[in-house]
């Protein structure tokens, strides 16, 4: 049955919903309150790594299964997805951290120092070895969001910027179903939603080339260096139990940049392109979900936490299945 659907919020969750539901044959309008695309989206501050295996270190086991499905959906959609795997390293005195990480995760192999140097020549001599997660992938957040936006339009979704919630919920335009993907902006409807601040730095270096994300284990500062191409590197990310959207603190900048320097001293000569901070919406178990209300006329898709890109496609498929025949899934609450 073809429905008229309004999606609220053009972050990664809303874009995946609009794309998937438009492709399923529904009439889709996507409303975004910001005038400029992605200006208000927490997704813009993503790494972005599709890392279901590494996330399993702390996330519930269920998320690994769903995450693998998310990776498959991205691979099928996005030709620019970089499927070079990912690396986990630790300094010699923190080898215990590496062993612990290896015990808690699957899908990795251990690289000796020379095997690491083969894959990432610029890391030669930097580490005793690494864990290699061959099936993980990464992408640049702004490029991927723009791609999703273009694809959703191509699939027939109407996307309107500068129009907030409420514009489509009354009068003749009332949609059959409203899918609310507004993240923290929907918190008044979702009392157990909280914000978790994340900060990242973008730097540009012509001195070092990496072809896959490097996660640097440290007892105090978990750190990722994600190559976005053209010398651009995303260094992230802090996880602070705060909803403050403001500028990054010097403490966080020191931690992130110090970590990047520990991965490779050549990063000392990199240019700082941007500091940025976003607030990730999260439920108490840090698992994203779709929550059906008002007899199915309103569906909240929220709580992406660190998993918005990974599980965006899974949540979209979940909602599409529910609208098709009432099927529920692991991430859907009726």
């Amino acid at each position: 049955m073809t429905r008229s659907i309004t999606v609220l919020g053009a972050g990664v969750l809303g874009l995946w919903q609009a794309l998937t539901l438009a492709r399923a044959g529904h009439r889709v309008r996507l409303l975004e309150s910001s005038v400029e695309p992605f200006a208000a989206a927490a997704s813009l501050y993503g790494g972005v790594m599709l890392a279901p295996e590494r996330e399993a270190e702390t996330a519930p086991a269920m998320l690994r299964e769903l995450g693998l499905e998310g990776v498959a959906l991205w691979r099928a959609l996005y030709p620019q997805l970089r499927c070079n795997g990912s690396l986990v390293v630790a300094s010699p005195r923190d080898q215990g951290e590496l062993e612990r990480f290896a015990q808690r995760t699957q899908g990795h192999g251990l690289l000796r120092a020379d095997e690491l140097a083969e894959r990432e020549p610029d890391l030669a001599g930097r580490f005793n070895g690494a864990l290699f997660f061959a099936d993980e992938a990464h992408m640049s957040a702004p490029d991927a969001l723009q791609f999703l936006l273009d694809e959703a339009r191509r699939a027939g979704a109407e996307i309107v910027f500068g129009v907030g919630a409420g514009a489509d919920t009354n009068g003749d335009n009332a949609a059959d179903v409203v899918i609310d993907c507004r993240g923290m902006a929907a918190r008044d409807h979702l009392p157990d939603l909280r914000g978790v601040r994340g900060e990242r730095v973008l730097i540009r270096s012509t001195d070092i080339t990496l072809s896959r994300p490097v996660q640097f284990l440290h007892p105090r500062i978990p750190l990722y260096v994600v190559p976005w191409g053209a010398g651009l590197y995303m260094i992230g990310a802090t996880v602070i139990e705060s909803e403050e959207p403001g500028a990054m603190s010097v403490r966080s900048a020191l931690e992130l940049l110090g970590g990047a320097y520990a991965v490779h001293p050549a990063f000392a000569e990199a240019e700082i392109v941007a500091f940025g901070a976003g607030v990730r919406p999260a439920f108490p178990d840090n698992v994203p979900r779709a929550i059906v209300r008002d007899g199915g006329r309103r569906i909240f898709v929220n709580g992406a936490y660190r998993h918005g890109f990974l599980l965006g496609p899974v949540l979209a498929r979940t909602v599409a299945d529910y609208l098709a025949d009432g099927r529920t899934g692991a991430l859907l609450r009726v």
Partner: protein, 280 residues
């Protein structure tokens, strides 16, 4: 997660001697930190499984400004146990005092775990700054629980400053090495028989916690060993059992060690001459 409340099983055991800190009797000798858990939900389940009477919370500036950390802090408050804000990560007296005041306002409590860190690598307390900050905060009406070393003269100064509880380290924060200097900790226990002493930091395994309790320490404060376990809820329960066992053993009176073996079966009725070696 199938996490039945185990605090009850433990409490149902032998009679418990209560731990009293700043005039408040606590139901458990376990104090746990709230950082590094996979999610607030796992944290809540772990706290419940531990039966801990106090949880510590470190406050970041980002949480205090405009009360933007309120949702998370509300989750902590909802745990229903006493909240002990701490000044984790503060390197100067001024920073620690500022954080203490923010914490008192946010949590509406005079209780404070005071940390003044000297060195980022060892996270060793700066004992000079600690004494200075403790003096100012005790005078200002805080109930200060200082994170300190096993040094006796520093302990004396902290007590003189007005602290009524001391929290010596087991080992540096987050190392999980257990009691690095049991001899010094034993001396401290003997030197301050009437001051509540809580081992804070460095605990990695339930056996470490049990050891501290057997030595007569009044409680144990830990975080990483539970939060970073593969199953934090089960680990919380394991620590609760170890702390209870160690305390009971201390109160029951541990046997001393001997150099010579002594049979545990009575020897009455057996001949005490070995006839074969009797020279006749």
């Amino acid at each position: 997660m199938n996490a039945p409340s185990t605090g009850m099983d433990i409490k149902a055991g032998a009679e418990r001697s209560a731990l009293t800190l700043y005039g408040e009797a606590l139901s458990s000798r376990m104090l746990i930190g709230t950082a590094q858990y996979p999610s607030p939900q796992v944290l809540a389940e772990a706290v419940e499984a531990s039966g801990a009477g106090i949880v510590t919370v470190s406050l970041r500036r980002e949480q205090a400004r405009g009360r933007t950390g309120e949702r998370f802090l509300q989750l902590i408050a909802d745990l229903g146990v006493r909240v002990l804000p701490n000044t984790a990560g503060c390197h100067t007296v001024k920073e620690a005092i500022t954080t203490a005041h923010m914490a008192r306002e946010l949590f509406d409590t005079p209780w404070l775990k005071l940390e003044v860190i000297a060195n980022d690598d060892t996270l060793q307390p700066d004992v000079f700054g600690l004494v200075e900050a403790a003096s100012a905060l005790c005078a200002d009406g805080f109930n200060v629980l200082p994170y300190t070393t096993e040094d006796l003269s520093v302990a004396d100064r902290l007590l003189a400053a007005g602290c009524r509880v001391l929290m010596p380290w087991g080992a540096p924060i987050g190392t999980g090495r257990g009691l690095a200097n049991p001899y010094a900790l034993r001396s401290m226990r003997a030197y301050f028989p009437d001051v509540p002493l809580i081992i804070d930091a460095g605990i990695g395994a339930p056996s470490h916690a049990a050891q501290a309790m057997e030595m007569g320490f009044d409680g144990v404060l830990l975080n990483t060993a539970i939060a970073k376990a593969a199953d934090p809820v089960r680990m919380a329960r394991a620590f609760a059992q170890a702390i209870e066992a160690g305390r009971s053993a201390y109160e029951a009176g541990l046997m001393g060690v001997r150099d010579m073996a002594q049979p545990s079966t009575p020897v009455v009725g057996t001949p005490f001459f070995d006839l074969r070696t009797d020279g006749a």
